[in-house]
Structure formats: C-alpha cells, structure tokens
Amino acid sequence: MSRVFIALQTNDDTRPIIESILADNPHAVPVESPAMIKIDAEGHLTVKRESISELIGRDFDLQELHTHLISLSGHIDESDDEFTLYWDN
C-alpha cells in the first residue's frame, strides 16, 4: 500500500485540525518540521468536518483547509462532510 500525506502549517488555526485528523486516522503518522507538520498515512486519510467542528465549537467548512494547507498527495474525494486522500495501489 502506498502512503498518502497532507502537510499543514502549524499555527493556532491548525492545532484542532491536526488533532482531529490524528484521532480520526489512528494509522496516521505525524512528522514535524520547522513551521509545518506532514501527516503520512498508509493507503488513505480522511479529514472529517464534524470532528473539527466539535473541537473548535463552531461549524467548520472543509474548504477552510485551503488557507492552511501546504501540500498533499493521492487522489482526492471531497464532499461537504469529508475530505479523503487515497491511493488505489
């Protein structure tokens, strides 16, 4: 299985995003670098709107990710509730 990744800036807005990604994807591995974090995951990784909304106490729009996103890999499946990265191999 190939690994996908999502890289985010590390700031106050992304703290709950990172926390919920790691909670929702127990197989994900965070790799920290100066000013950023890269989250690697075997096969697939899902960002869930509901988990983030719960942590920040307001409705989160998954497209807000664009503001903090640095990079990613894999195919994308995006809906209002979930943003998934995956490889089919």
Partner: protein
C-alpha cells in the same frame, strides 16, 4: 479565523456543477475547430470533455474567498516582518544568497506559469479544464507578486536583488529556468499541462516549496516562509489538477498513451535538471538545515512519486526511464552544482563560499558514500588556496548542454570521476549534451532545440556586451563587459561571501540591533 458558515441548500458537488459546467455554452455562429484551434494538433484525442472531474470542487466564489484570506494573512506577516527589521533575525547573511536565486530564478517562472495556464485554459474546449486553468493562472500571478513584494524588503539592504527581470533574460545560469519555461509554453496546451501541471507541479514542486521553505522558517526568514507555504497551498490544488488531467487524457483514448509517456519522460528529466540548483540551495546555502537534498528527494520523489507512478501503471504509464540515473545522481548533485557555482562565483548575482568544517562534517554524515571521497578534498584545497589569498575563479566559459543549458558539470552515471559528454550532428552542426536523456529530448524535436539561445555561445558571438561596446578596443575586458550587460556590480553583487559588503553590513547592523550606540 472565526468564520460563520451559513447553512447551504445545495451539496458541494451540485454547487460545483452549477458554478462551472453550467456556465459554459456551445458556440453557434463559429465552428468549434475555429474557436479552439490548438485542441487537436498534438494528436491527443478527446471524445467527451464532460468526463473531466475536478477533484477540488472549488467554485470561483469560494476561490476568491479563500485566496483573499490567504493574502490578508500573508501581507500582515510581510508588513510585520519588515517593520521589525526581520532581516536581521536570519541565521547569517549567507542565507540571503539562496533567496537571491529564488527571486531571479523562480519568481519569473511563476509569471511564465501564469501566461502558460491562461493560454492552456483558453485552448481547452472543456469547461472543467478551463475553470481549473483559470484559477491556476491567477494563482501563478499571485505567486509572482507575493514573492516580489516579500523579497523587495531585502533589496533595501542587500546587493544582487536590484534587477531580477533584466537578469532573467540575460544572466548565463538563468537561461536554465528561462529555457525550461519557454520550452513548455511554446508546446501545445496538452503538453504544457503534462509538463507543468503534472511533471513539474506534482512530481517536483514539493521539493522546493516544502523542505526548502521549512528551511527558510528554520533560518528565521518569515517572509519567505509565508509566501512559500502560501504558494504551495495553491500548488496542492495544482497537483491535483495535473493528476486529474493525466488520468482524463489517458482514459479518453488508448492512442494517447505513447504521446503522454513521451512527455512525462521528457518533462520529468527537464524538471530534475532544473531542480539541481535547489539541491545546492538546500545543502550549501541554508546555514541551518532541516534535511539534506538527498533525504528530501527520497521523501518527495522516490516515495511520493513512486506511489504516483504505481497508481498510473493501470493506464500503462511507466516510471520515466531517467529514474535510474536520477537515483545515481542524488548523492552527487548538490556538491557538483555548488562546486560549479563556486568556480563561476565572479559571474553570478550572488555570493559563494566554501563550507565551514562543521558544515563539511554534516555533509559527510548525510552523504557517507560520496562526500569525503569525491568532494571534501577539492573543497579543502579551495579553502586552503583562499586562505593563501588565491580564491579560485574560473575565467574560461563552460560548454553548455543544448537542451537543459546547464554547463557540462554532471558526471557519467556510475563514474563520478568522469564528466559526461554526449554529442550529435544535425544538419552539419554539432550539438552537445550533458546526458543521454537531454540528447534524446533533442533527437525527438531537433528543430526546436537548435534554436536554443545558449549564453556562452552568445557571449562568444559578441551578443552580450552593452550597446556601443567595441571589443577590438585596446585593453578590452570581455568578462567585465558581459557583467555590465547583466547589470551586475563586480565584487559587490558576487564573488566570495567572506568579507563582502553584505557580510560586513549584516554583522555591523546585527551588532547595532543589540546595542544603543
């Protein structure tokens, strides 16, 4: 950011359809072939543009909203950084030389990418592809502008930042990035997408914008960190577009496969050659290092690119043939390129230097199989010579590769003691190449590459002197005339870092920043 998210009546997918595809129309009073004249000539067959899927379902209204948010954050940081003399917080002034390369070699490419995507977007008959290209064209313009704005702060204090648009079209090593993008935008729209949207964006930009920019943060350069990450957040969208574009083309017709494979082979190699300068920036120009070029390469090319090509195997796409040579070069690349720039440090717009003993130890540790054997002895010799007052500057112009335009500095795959040369005769003229792959690219399109504007050849032909220069005048100094044509101040903008005006000013100003005198 504390945004209130209003309740939406339509789902994301429906909104996307309504705000993109449904805004398109079919032409009635002109035939389609006349409206989209570049859609067919490359031989790519598209049967149904409606099969195009844009995985990021970003509509124009959402695009403006999030881009505006990114810009507000970015400019607030740039202002704060320059208002508080942030430049004095960078590790040391050597670092700024990497940023000079960024401004002269990368920023103009962003602008060329803007032009390229605007053109590709106009040329594609499908609405999904047009919208995605339009956003990317705007993104690329934004990248050029934010880089210029961030880096103009340094131009107030340091040398070499003063005339990047003039230099981009003239300075010898800048013909490498310039010719890369000129090659891409003079191709057809499909090749441009494979070249820039896929090969460059997906396979290679991470190497510049992720570890190097994280390195900028590590070295205290808040401006570069901010524009770099802000740009790469758009790149995430671009990469997805590049991947989608490849899948779409391959699914449309099996006859497209060999054409696409040839483009992938060509542009991965062109991109790898272009990035050789980034290898040097990471290993030699960042005083504090996040990771070596080789480590970054393994993460972002071997692992990430490997997963990508494994995924594309179902369409019959193979890992480019150059991958094996690339694997052999990763232990050598940054050292060979830095050695070359050190040699030609009298003709660049930035300073060069020999690494300190600590830095050489770091290089030995990161490159245990190559650094001590092949590069350390040379570097120690140059350092000794410099200490004796014989700082080495190469006075002879190098031979350039006809395709990538890089001086012949790369070694034979498998033999790091021998420079790699290839040559071809075409219509009675001889052409030289740095590698088999650059030669193959030429062989496929010789009529394109014989037109290459090679800086060294142009200098020897007398085309790179200021207007009115008389090369037959007594005492004529050709190198000085070329540097004047480049608008470089000899010894002030370039040459040895140690003892340079930038070095002295930075030390003095940093001292003043800590005292009241």
């Amino acid at each position: 950011m504390d945004m209130q998210v209003p309740k939406k009546k339509l789902g994301l997918k429906e909104r996307y359809t309504l705000m993109t595809r449904d805004l398109a129309w079919d032409t009635t009073y002109q035939p389609k072939e006349k409206v989209y004249p570049y859609a067919d000539y490359e031989g790519i067959r598209i049967h149904d543009w409606d099969k195009w899927e844009d995985p990021f379902r970003l509509t124009m209204d959402a695009y403006w909203k999030y881009q505006a948010e990114k810009e507000r954050k970015l400019y607030a940081i740039i202002d704060a950084y320059s208002q508080s003399n942030g430049h004095l917080g960078v590790t040391d002034a050597r670092y700024l030389n990497a940023i000079k390369i960024f401004l002269t070699a990368v920023t103009p490419l962003e602008h060329m990418a803007h032009r390229g995507f605007a053109h590709a977007g106009r040329a594609f008959p499908g609405a999904g592809a047009r919208v995605a290209c339009q956003m990317q064209a705007i993104d690329e313009m934004r990248h050029a502008q934010t880089q210029i704005h961030s880096l103009s702060n340094y131009n107030k204090y340091y040398n070499g930042f003063h005339d990047f648009t003039h230099m981009y079209d003239r300075v010898w090593y800048l013909s490498v990035p310039k010719s890369f993008f000129d090659d891409a935008i003079t191709a057809g729209p499909f090749e441009f997408m494979v070249a820039v949207g896929f090969s460059f964006e997906y396979v290679l930009t991470n190497l510049l914008f992720v570890p190097f920019v994280s390195g900028a943060a590590y070295n205290g350069d808040m401006g570069t960190m901010t524009f770099g990450f802000s740009a790469q957040s758009d790149e995430a969208r671009h990469m997805t577009l590049g991947l989608e574009c490849i899948k779409f083309i391959l699914e449309q017709d099996p006859a497209n496969l060999p054409i696409v494979q040839r483009w992938i082979d060509k542009w991965c190699w062109r991109g790898v050659r272009l990035l050789s300068i980034v290898a040097m920036m990471m290993d030699y120009m960042l005083p504090k290092r996040v990771m070596s070029w080789k480590e970054a390469w393994e993460i972002y090319f071997e692992e990430n690119g490997g997963a990508l090509f494994k995924d594309l195997a179902r369409y019959g796409i193979k890992m480019p043939a150059c991958a094996e040579q690339i694997r052999l070069e990763k232990d050598h690349l940054s050292h060979q390129v830095w050695a070359t720039f050190y040699n030609y440090g009298g003709a660049t717009d930035f300073h060069t230097w020999m690494p300190t003993e600590d830095e050489m130890q770091w290089l030995s540790q990161k490159y245990p199989d190559t650094f001590d054997t092949y590069y350390r002895p040379r570097f120690e010799f140059w350092r000794e010579q410099q200490e004796k007052g014989n700082r080495f500057y190469n006075q002879t112009l190098p031979m350039l590769c006809q395709t990538c335009q890089i001086p012949m500095l790369f070694t034979e795959p498998g033999d790091p003691t021998k420079i790699c040369y290839r040559e071809r005769t075409y219509k009675g003229n001889k052409y030289h190449f740095c590698s088999d792959h650059c030669q193959h690219i030429f062989d496929n399109e010789p009529e394109k590459y014989v037109q290459a504007w090679l800086p060294v050849n142009q200098i020897y032909q007398g085309n790179c002197f200021p207007e009115g220069t008389d090369p037959s005048a007594p005492g004529f100094d050709p190198l000085a005339a070329v540097l004047e044509y480049y608008r470089l101040n000899i010894g002030r903008d370039n040459g040895e870092f140690e003892g340079s005006e930038d070095h002295r000013n930075f030390e003095a100003w940093r001292g003043m920043a800590k005292r009241n005198d």
